[in-house]
Amino acid sequence: MLGLGVDRLRADMNRLLAMLFHQGVLDEQFLQLQQLQDESSPNFVSEVVNIYFHESEKLLRNLRELLMDREFSDYKKMGTHLNQFMGSSSSIGAKRIRNVCVAFRAASEHNNRAGCLRALEVLEHEYCYLKNKLHELFQIEQQRVLAAGVRYPMQNN
């Protein structure tokens, strides 16, 4: 029963991942992350992704604050935030987010405030979507690990 659960969970995970890849939300860089996870760093992916979430939310908040400011004019500063967001997103394989950042950067370089605002909204939306999906992925993974752990003792019996 539990053993079946493990297989099912693994299938769920794979399905979810496949969908995210297909949608372009994730790319092969995420696979590289997964490959870096091994016995020496068993929770590497979730660790890095959590760091990413933490940092990204800060960046998004900063961007939002900058753009909401009426006297906003510091596009350079916005560019810096954007640059970092772009870098970290691409490093974990968040392809769609990265693409939105590129568009955002273009608008920022043209001092197009409206364009930046629109881009920011899309960015926030994409980020939320990614965060939800990755959380879901990690939950499945956790369950799978648990199921697999429980299974072994039963086998020994």
Partner: protein, 667 residues
């Protein structure tokens, strides 16, 4: 798994933690890394410092680099990273840095690292646009990686370390400058040189002689704009620059040469009055030393006719005369001088003298070259301390010099590391000599070579404390027939080599030096030429016969083969006579041949522990301490004397320092 190093979180704690983490991460590997860096497991163990304010990327890179079997140290703050680099010089091979960082711009960090530590810096950024990459290149980054960074890209970063090292050495060969050493040292160059085996090691392992174009071009530029830079970049007195300096001084007249006027005459952008002033000070000391040497030498020996008289006058007149006489090609002297001056303060007092001596020899009066030669030699001998540092540099560029040298160089390369450890001095000297010699050789072919060599050889003899003359060893040194050695010296700068070998019959150093120098910088013209008594050396030679000088008038320089040493020889002869007796046999053909080797370890004192030296060297030394030098059998390769010499070079330098040196000459 290792917690992400939040290095940037807080100042003190961050620093402590970062250091701690750095230590923890790298502690065990520091020493191991050093070995690994040059082990056959390379590039495993490459010591990487990665700097990125983005924690996500930093963490990923840390793990990725770890997967490449590198020794990783992660920093999230540029300032912390810079401190880490400064505190642990020589503990990193390459730096990976993000471009956009809050506390310091990545390019700023790049500049600092390049100036102070001369490490290859690879920039990273999410911005992969051409303009951004162009900016990276303009700032001198070795590479520019675009995020997301793949493991494959990181697996390749070791190439930058190697490339930098090799290019650096190559440049050294061409320029003859000791930029690398300068870069490694953060001290001022005005003071005496402080050498250390460590630095030599650093040079080797780090390799990264910042021969980058930015550095070379800034031949005298100083960066004053960044307050965070604790030290200004050192001015590298390359051969060309030094020649300009010397000509400016000559134009003004040494007595009237003031930094301001010299600066005006030189008309080098970026050079400051302070640079010139310090250089002038060194130069003056060198001249003074030269004068002292002259007087000392002449007094010590039967006193060549001219020596006494010349003593007093040994000054720029002499130098000029000597230069004018062509015995010591100005370039050689200049180069020598440059070399000496450029040498890091490895040598204490001697170092200072060297430049003066070189200079003196450069300007050399017409009179007995001996006087000049002596100073010339002395510096070489004394340079030992800097050998370690200099050696690798000179050795590597040796390839350019000539075929013989080339091979030698390659050999030396492999031995560089060990030799450095051995006797920094020897290396230094040899390298210096080598550089000088090489320069000489390049510029002057045989004729001059011989004269120069003879001169120098003479000088060497004069130096009481100089090289030991392992007459016998010289033979072995040369490989007997030395035809190979002798001939070889003829062929390329061989002549130069030969002479030295004669001189250093005992001291491999001399031979080494000669050999080395040519390889490294062929810039040293005349001096080497003089020494490289060409093939004829062996025949005539050395031996003690004062009258032997085949070509030279003075003949006095029996060993020098004096062929080409005109004025100098006569003085030498006197001196030689003294030695000749002792070494009579030494100066036989064999010894002459040894001279040819120049690089042979004849006289390298064991203390310098030149592993490279082949047994021959030891032979040369009469079985003295030099023995150590397994030395490269100079004789082995007829044309490759240098190759051997290269190895021997280090030991040779040592020999120079030996008192045996003098005896070598006699032989």
């Amino acid at each position: 798994m290792a917690a992400l190093q939040r290095v940037a979180q807080s100042s003190a704690s961050t620093t402590a933690s970062s250091y701690g983490s750095c230590k923890g991460g790298a502690a065990s590997s520091f020493s191991a890394a050093n070995e690994m860096a040059v082990s056959d497991r390379f590039p495993a163990g490459l010591r990487v410092l990665v700097v990125d304010d983005d924690t996500t990327c930093l963490r990923i890179l840390e793990v990725l680099l770890g997967r490449c079997a590198y020794q990783v140290t992660a920093c999230s703050q540029a300032t912390v990273a810079l401190n880490l680099l400064r505190e642990r010089k020589g503990c990193f091979d390459v730096v990976l840095s993000d471009v956009h960082m809050p506390d310091m711009d990545g390019f700023k960090l790049l500049e600092h690292v390049g100036l102070e530590m001369d490490l290859p810096v690879i920039m990273m950024s999410a911005d992969g646009r051409t303009s951004a990459v162009m900016q990276g290149i303009r700032h001198g980054a070795c590479d520019y990686l675009i995020k997301p960074i793949h493991e494959a890209e990181l697996k390749n970063i070791w190439q930058h370390v190697v490339r930098k090292k090799w290019n650096g050495n190559k440049e050294l060969d061409h320029s003859g400058s000791l930029e690398d050493n300068d870069r490694n040292k953060r001290g001022n160059s005005d003071v005496e040189y402080t050498s250390s085996v460590n630095e030599g090691t650093e040079v080797i392992l780090k390799g990264p002689k910042k021969r980058s174009n930015t550095k070379e071009d800034d031949d005298g530029d100083m960066e004053n704009d960044d307050p965070s830079t604790s030290k200004k970049p050192r001015v590298v007195w390359s051969v060309e620059l030094h020649q300009q300096f010397v000509s400016a001084v000559n134009q003004l007249g040494l007595d009237k040469a003031v930094p301001k006027r010299i600066l005006e005459l030189m008309n080098v952008p970026g050079l400051s009055r302070e640079n010139v002033a310090s250089h002038l000070q060194k130069f003056r000391l060198y001249l003074k030393r030269l004068a002292q040497q002259q007087s000392g030498i002449s007094n010590g020996f039967c006193g060549p006719v001219e020596s006494n008289a010349k003593l007093g006058s040994l000054s720029r007149f002499d130098i000029q005369a000597l230069a004018a006489s062509g015995q010591i090609p100005p370039q050689t002297l200049a180069v020598l001088q440059a070399e000496l001056l450029g040498q890091p303060a490895g040598n204490l007092v001697p170092a200072m003298d060297q430049p003066a001596i070189l200079h003196a020899s450069l300007q050399g009066p017409k009179r007995a070259p001996v006087e000049h030669g002596v100073p010339f030699v002395q510096p070489l001998i004394k340079c030992q301390s800097n050998v370690s540092k200099h050696f690798p540099q000179s050795i590597i560029p040796a390839e350019d010099v000539s075929s013989g040298f080339g091979s030698w160089r390659s050999n030396s390369l492999s031995t560089v590391a060990p030799s450095n450890n051995l006797g920094g001095l020897a290396t230094h000297n040899s390298s210096m000599l080598m550089d000088i010699m090489q320069q000489e050789q390049r510029q002057h072919k045989k004729t001059q070579q011989q004269s120069v060599l003879t001169e120098s050889s003479r000088l060497i003899n004069v130096q009481p404390s100089c090289l030991v003359v392992p007459s016998q060893s010289s033979t072995s040194f040369q490989a007997g027939n030395s035809p190979a050695s002798v001939n070889q010296s003829c062929s390329f700068n061989r002549s130069t080599v030969i002479d030295y070998s004669i001189l250093s019959a005992q001291s491999n150093n001399s031979s080494l030096n000669i050999g080395h120098i040519p390889t490294g910088n062929l810039k040293t013209p005349s001096i080497l030429d003089g020494y490289s008594a060409h093939g004829s050396v062996p025949t005539t030679s050395c031996s003690v016969n004062a009258g032997n000088n085949t070509s030279h008038q003075n003949s006095a320089v029996p060993f020098c083969d004096s062929r080409q040493l005109p004025g100098v020889l006569h003085d030498m002869s006197n001196i030689q006579g003294l030695y000749v007796d002792k070494s009579g046999e030494m100066l036989d053909q064999g010894s002459l041949r040894n001279l040819g080797f120049v690089g042979k370890e004849t006289g390298i004192p064991s203390q310098f522990a030149v592993d490279d030296f082949e047994s021959q060297v030891s032979n040369l030394n009469h079985g003295k301490i030099y023995v150590e030098n397994s030395g490269n059998p100079v004789k082995e390769e007829p044309s490759m004397n240098f190759v051997d010499n290269a190895k021997v070079g280090i030991p040779i330098l040592q020999e120079f320092s030996c008192s045996d040196f003098m005896s070598v000459f006699t032989e």
